[in-house]
Assembly symmetry: C2
Homo-oligomer: 200 residues x 2
DNA sequence: GACGGCATCATAGCAACGCTAGACATCCTG
DNA sequence: CAGGATGTCTAGCGTTGCTATGATGCCGTC
């Protein structure tokens, strides 16, 4: 392999990332429905077929953006967890960071959770960033808790529901803080015990 | 207004519903990506422009399907709640019914919560069926609970998250029952109290 | 009962979409 | 310097949501 080939490969990798960031920026400023292969090609100053030499199709581009998003989300959650004053506040900090991420980068969040992508979940070939983000939730629960994964799944589900329902206006977008408070208290505040009549 | 006009209006209303059910059936058997205006027109044995004399566009058609879905969901939840053996079991019954609805009618659920629609939420012109479904959750909590709406919002969010994340394979689709159990116990099992270190 | 007016419907077409085959140029290799 | 491979663009295919135009048939009126 000559040095020239290496340079070409570098350029190619650079252009690969250029396409991804262009797609993301376009989505963040004008929404995903504005991200067409033509506009994207024009934006990176190449013709359409170049996109298809890098990605199998539009879905693959969206998937690449989503994958970047998962990495950022994992890092964002990790930062929040480690910055928590005490371990008991870790869950709250991570949950708040999650909602923050979803509301501040709605287009990115859409790519990760709503748009059709090629990403494989909950399987052997699940990309590490996905698992990493999930693990941040798991880490908020005591290691000797046998059901921390279950806790994490439900917490994540609730947060995702809150994020997407409020973003689409199905629940009022204020009151999000109050809902978060309630969720944290109920999930983390008390150990499980047999069902009792409904609350306060 | 002559009798003839009345008949035409009846026929028109009938055809209106025909379009909606055709769209729904097509979506349920082949998925929403197979629901194109051409295929839909062929299915109802009219030409494309007829669709546009009934609906403003494709989004309006899926909105109509979604609206029907909200009615059915509300009825489904209501049945479940009223069939609960005791009031303390109402919440569990409604939540289980919700997940049942989402998993058994995935296309319909998509129209209601994922696809872009024209429906207005959480405002004055919110269609009654939407509010009715939400109220079934609210009714599961004690009337003297000042925050039942908040409870209902969080419960709904969690269920929606579970439904959509498991449907898209982001969390394993078995274990749904276990997650439901955990959610119910945490939401309804204990009144709120100040945050304590994380659970069992 | 024939006729003008109106509402209804289908044919045909537009712009934009994702995607691809083929021609063209460019650069490395022998 | 010629030959071949690599990379890129132009042009176009089939399909999408949506609509302007023209034909068809029914209604109310003289």
């Amino acid at each position: 392999m000559s040095a020239i080939s290496e340079r070409r490969e570098r350029e190619r990798a650079h252009r690969h990332q250029l396409i991804i960031t262009a797609a993301r920026e376009l989505a963040e400023t004008e929404g995903w429905e504005a991200v067409t292969t033509r506009r994207l090609a024009e934006r990176v100053e190449y013709s359409q077929p170049v996109l298809y030499s890098h990605f199998n199709g539009k879905d693959a581009i969206v998937s690449a953006v989503a994958l970047d998003g998962f990495s950022e989300l994992a890092a964002h959650l990790r930062r929040a967890r480690q910055a928590a004053p005490e371990p008991g506040e870790a869950l709250r900090a991570v949950c708040r960071a999650y909602l923050e991420f979803a509301t501040e980068r709605p287009a990115l969040y859409q790519a990760m959770f709503i748009l059709p992508t090629d990403l494989k979940f909950a399987s052997a070939e699940t990309p590490p960033p996905l698992r990493a983000g999930f693990d941040e939730f798991v880490s908020c629960f005591s290691p000797d808790n046998e059901r921390r994964e279950l806790f994490a799944e439900v917490t994540w589900s609730a947060l995702h529901g809150m994020a997407v329902l409020s973003d689409s206006g199905r629940i009022p977008s204020d009151g999000q803080e109050e809902r978060l408070d309630f969720l944290i208290t109920q999930i983390a505040g008390t150990p499980m015990r047999p069902t009792a009549p409904q609350g306060a």
